[in-house]
Assembly symmetry: C2
Homo-oligomer: 354 residues x 2
């Protein structure tokens, strides 16, 4: 792919690496490529980060034909740049775009685009502990018109943001609200995609959880309002006795890259992992009896996030005395060790950006 480059006239000052927060700063440049029916994907370019002019009838503003991805670039101890399984994000975006009937950027072009913009903006990759460069690819419909149909033109854009911890709590246990009123996704819907609509629909429950003093929402399935699905922007796993249980991928849960990686590691370590329906009643009962030893969320942003408390219909269960569990910590150390290149990458997950 030929990528044209237009350099920004002035560069921004880089933010304090110890105070990055999440998604507050964006780098100097962005990657862009357009699609239309005649030319397919064309005009790949790196241009100064800045506003995109949009006709007020642009379909993305009315019918939310939009999908996104999230991955990170890391500096290893040698100063090399690493990506973590970027092809997984490429493939997931293809699946998202298929469901929303949008043009799909081929896997190789996706990965090439990510590598190109990360390399171009490499001075922005922070080096302080636990920091990284968050990579946000997004595809959206650019056709102007008010009929509901697949748009005739799309834009794929990558923006970059140097980030620290996702939760202000850092790697400390979070309190999770089990939502029994709002529903995020249902089989036959779009739950397995990273389409914008899923997130718009999720905000009300997130606000409710925060108002009650909780960090994120644990979603139950939309049909029975009973089976545990995922947490806000993470998949979720429970160590019940000596078995790790997580929701199966059956259309309503996002197939997380972190989820997949952790399942691999756990199996490699000899753990029994069950991908199955886990009812909230079974989970709360395991919490009451103490069979629920540990619980954690998995996601690119927070990596592994220990769960210290669940609240369902007013009942609270504390997990592992609101301390980060041993397995949770070991998974966090292992995965972040691989991602930041401190540990051997025996699964061949990291990709060196040259």
């Amino acid at each position: 792919m030929e990528i044209k480059i237009e350099r920004a006239k002035t560069l921004k000052q880089k933010p304090d690496q110890n105070n990055l927060g999440f998604g507050k700063y964006f780098t100097d440049h962005m990657f862009m490529i357009d699609w239309d029916q005649d030319q397919g994907w064309h005009d790949a370019r790196i241009v100064p980060y800045g506003p995109i002019p949009m006709d007020p009838a642009t379909m993305v503003l009315h019918y939310a034909q939009e999908t996104f991805e999230g991955l990170k670039a890391y500096r290893n101890p040698n100063g090399d740049i690493l990506l973590f399984r970027p092809e997984m994000n490429a493939r997931r975006m293809i699946n998202s775009n298929k469901r929303i009937c949008m043009a799909e950027l081929p896997e190789e072009m996706f990965v090439e685009a990510v590598e190109a913009i990360v390399k171009y903006e490499q001075d922005w990759i922070p080096t302080a502990p636990n920091t990284s460069l968050y990579i946000r690819p997004v595809t959206f419909a650019t056709e102007a018109g008010v009929g509901v149909h697949p748009a005739k033109s799309y834009k794929f854009v990558i923006i970059l943001s140097p980030v620290g911890n996702y939760y202000p709590e850092g790697v400390n246990p979070v309190k999770i609200w089990v939502e029994d009123e709002f529903v995020r996704a249902v089989k036959g819907g779009t739950g397995f995609t990273k389409c914008g609509g899923n997130y718009a629909a999720s905000i009300a429950a997130q606000v409710k959880a925060e108002q009650n003093g909780y960090t994120q929402v644990l979603w139950l399935d939309g049909v029975h309002r009973k089976y545990v699905e995922e947490v806000g922007t993470m998949n979720v796993m429970f160590l019940i006795n000596d078995t790790v249980v997580t929701a199966a991928l059956e259309g309503s849960v996002l197939p997380g890259v972190t989820r997949d990686s952790i399942i691999h590691i756990l199996k490699d370590w000899g753990y029994k992992v069950e991908e199955r329906d886990l009812s909230i009643d079974e989970l709360m009962e395991a919490g009451r009896t103490g069979a629920l030893k540990e619980a954690w969320g998995t996601g690119t942003a927070a990596v592994i996030s220990p769960i210290g408390e669940l609240c369902y219909k007013g009942e609270k269960v504390t997990i592992n005395g609101f301390e980060t569990g041993e397995l949770t910590q070991k998974l966090y150390d292992t995965l972040t060790g691989i991602q930041w290149g401190r540990l051997e990458d025996k699964y061949h997950w990291t990709k060196l950006v040259k």
Copy 2:
């Protein structure tokens, strides 16, 4: 509300009134107002129709915090401008925005904004039979950032499009595909709102229907995959023997303004109207036995759209010999008569724009 006006330097040529299609042309100006936490709604203005610059991190492009409305302005035989129940659209947008955690434009401001822009652009209201000026208000998040939370700033915009018939078929029966794979909405979700995500999620089924030679999709409920909900961009009603049956409003169906108006008219005429669960099996059986006398969709865009055929899992039933039914036609004539000011408005639904 004080509305500043900036006039376009050059005006567009108006399109041929007999060939408008739907949503293909936009007028010379648009209405805009901004919201932020400090100032609330502010800076109401009518400006030339044109692109809005958007930061690539703008939340609407990632998390689809966006809702829209659709209503029409009509010319009556005296040349006056009429709106149809605009306060219903204002209230529905408030409900949509509440669900998606967006700032809500108060009802009076919504209606005032619609009146102001329609009056300003009144030369664009077409006068050929069955034509009108389609009014498209939209609210979207304008904050730039990649955290999932309610945005701190929004824009409310109204654009206008002179339109003819929504379906190329005109007021002739359409063929409807009963969808049994994809799901549009589920209780606890966003089905009762006009948020963008609902429409993105619906496109795949619409494409499938068209590929099979059908005009629109009839959605079944997401829990049982059994009860009839609505059709693409219309609510749907069935005359079974002498009773009109339509889905109740229980969270997954859009509360259509046309639906509400038609139910009023039917009851006024002495018809029995049942808002209830109607299973697809009951419906198909009524189709087979001939108990299903007529069927039609109701919506602002198409007004009343007769349904001539249903196809469910390969089985087809033809309704009323694929002819527009007597009641369907009478409803169409009555409602369009009121909307275009040709009939007495005994329900006080139309609003004169002065």
